[in-house]
């Protein structure tokens, strides 16, 4: 089963999507990322999962590191990262709209 968006990102609770969503609001370091993700998604990413995803996103050029601040290195989303997140959000929206329609709700009503 294909579970990736055209941009290579998976679905909503996948760590890369959560990290990109968090960084779309501005640069953050690891601890701030984990806290922000927990606040908006209710998902607690452990250090291992968080840095596994950060590694992959940086390898793919979707995020980039900024200067280190006392061993804490903030990351920011790149232009390619914004495009990938936009793809993923559009894909999620499309699925949400299908679900809403099939439930007899107006598409976008749950947004």
């Amino acid at each position: 089963m294909e579970n990736s968006t055209p941009s290579g990102l998976r679905r909503p609770n996948d760590p890369p999507v959560l990290i990109l969503t968090s960084l779309a609001a501005g640069p953050r370091h690891g601890h701030a990322l984990a806290k922000d993700i927990e606040s908006f998604a209710g998902v607690r990413l452990g250090p291992g999962a968080l840095y596994g995803a950060i590694t992959r996103l940086e390898e793919r050029g979707l995020i980039e590191p900024l200067g280190t601040e006392d061993r804490r290195r903030p990351y920011r989303i790149t232009v390619a990262g914004r495009a990938a997140l936009a793809d993923a959000v559009a894909d999620m929206r499309r699925i949400a709209d299908v679900g809403a329609t099939r439930l007899g709700l107006r598409p976008g009503a749950l947004a």
């Binding site: 690891g30 984990a34 452990g46 250090p47 999962a49 968080l50 840095y51 280190t68 061993r71 804490r72």
Partner: protein, 316 residues
């Protein structure tokens, strides 16, 4: 050096699962994150397991076993080395099978053991082919290994090689008193009646398995550092595919031998009195088949890794 400068020793230990190159890039900030999350508390088992798992994933990626972040030649080499490691497991299974099948041809008239003899011969031939492939693979890589040593590469492989040498010497040294002890025992005592001797043999066998594992680890560690050209890699891949096929055939050959012996002389398999009909399911053969099956699956995975990246190898 973990890269986690200033981090506590405990945090350093948590990051030891990650490869050194990864720790150099992310070790400091991950250590800082862990310390922020723990806020002075001791790391719990959940965090330890999560970091171990994530660190091993990074090691697998760095070794070309997972993902496509490494260049095709490295992924191909990683696949071939998985087959080599699988063959080491098959060798252990072969050693257990050799002991289990000792003197089986004297257990019944030759006419009743035709299938078992055929299967046993197949196991021996397959074993020889597998060993020949591994030796051929080592010989093909020998010029690159010599070049690596001449360019000062010994320091990078000294640790694994010396560990393997030390354990091998210990195993060889242990064989001398064991053989001397065996000379003073009768057949029954040598085959399990003497508990102390049995324990000594088991300890020696365990040491031998550790030596084999260490040599395999040293070989893998060394091979990953060699500058192998595309032509050598293609030969290694061919040999790896043959070894994977041999390992799969071994599973079948041992199963055929087991079935043939179970039908002809079931008492032999479990050491019961001749002429009886016990359940012919000895733990040793279950171990042999389990190890061979695991080796075969691992070798198959290695071949999959190789074939995925095969087309991306540079020509030449």
């Amino acid at each position: 050096m973990t890269g986690a400068r200033g981090a506590g020793r405990g945090t350093d230990r948590l990051l030891r699962w990650y490869p050194a190159t990864w720790r150099r890039s992310y070790g400091d900030e991950l250590a800082a994150l862990i310390e922020d999350e723990l806020d002075g508390r001791r790391p719990g088992p959940g965090l330890r397991v999560s970091l171990a798992r994530a660190g091993l994933v990074e090691r697998s990626r760095a070794g070309g076993l997972v993902g496509d972040s490494r260049p095709a030649p490295e992924r191909v080499r990683a696949g071939a080395l998985v087959v080599l490691a699988a063959w080491a497991v098959a060798m252990v299974a072969g050693a257990v099978f050799a002991k289990t099948s000792e003197h089986f041809s004297f257990s019944a008239p030759p006419a009743t053991l035709v299938t078992a003899r055929g299967a046993f011969t197949a196991v021996v031939v397959l074993g020889v082919v597998g060993v020949a492939c591994v030796v051929a693979g080592a010989l093909v890589a020998l010029p690159a290994a010599v070049a690596h040593l001449r360019s000062g590469g010994w320091a990078s492989v000294r640790g694994p090689v010396l560990r393997a040498v030390v354990v091998t010497v210990a195993a060889a040294a242990g064989l001398v008193p064991l053989a001397a002890w065996a000379r003073h025992l009768d057949v029954a005592q040598r085959n399990g009646a003497d508990g102390a001797y049995l324990a000594a043999v088991a300890a020696w066998a365990a040491l031998t398995v550790v030596a084999l594992a260490l040599w395999t680890a040293a070989g893998v560690s060394w091979a990953r550092r060699l500058d192998l050209g595309a032509r050598v890699l293609r030969i290694e891949v061919g040999l790896a595919v043959v070894v994977a096929l041999v390992t799969a055939c071994l599973v079948v050959a041992v199963a055929v031998w087991w079935a043939a012996m179970a039908r002809a002389v079931p008492w032999y398999l479990v050491g019961a009195a001749p002429g009886t009909h016990p359940l012919p399911v000895p733990g040793t053969l279950i171990t042999v088949e389990s190890l061979l099956l695991a080796a075969s699956l691992a070798a198959g995975w290695g071949v999959v890794l190789v074939t995925r990246s095969w087309r991306s190898l540079p020509s030449g």
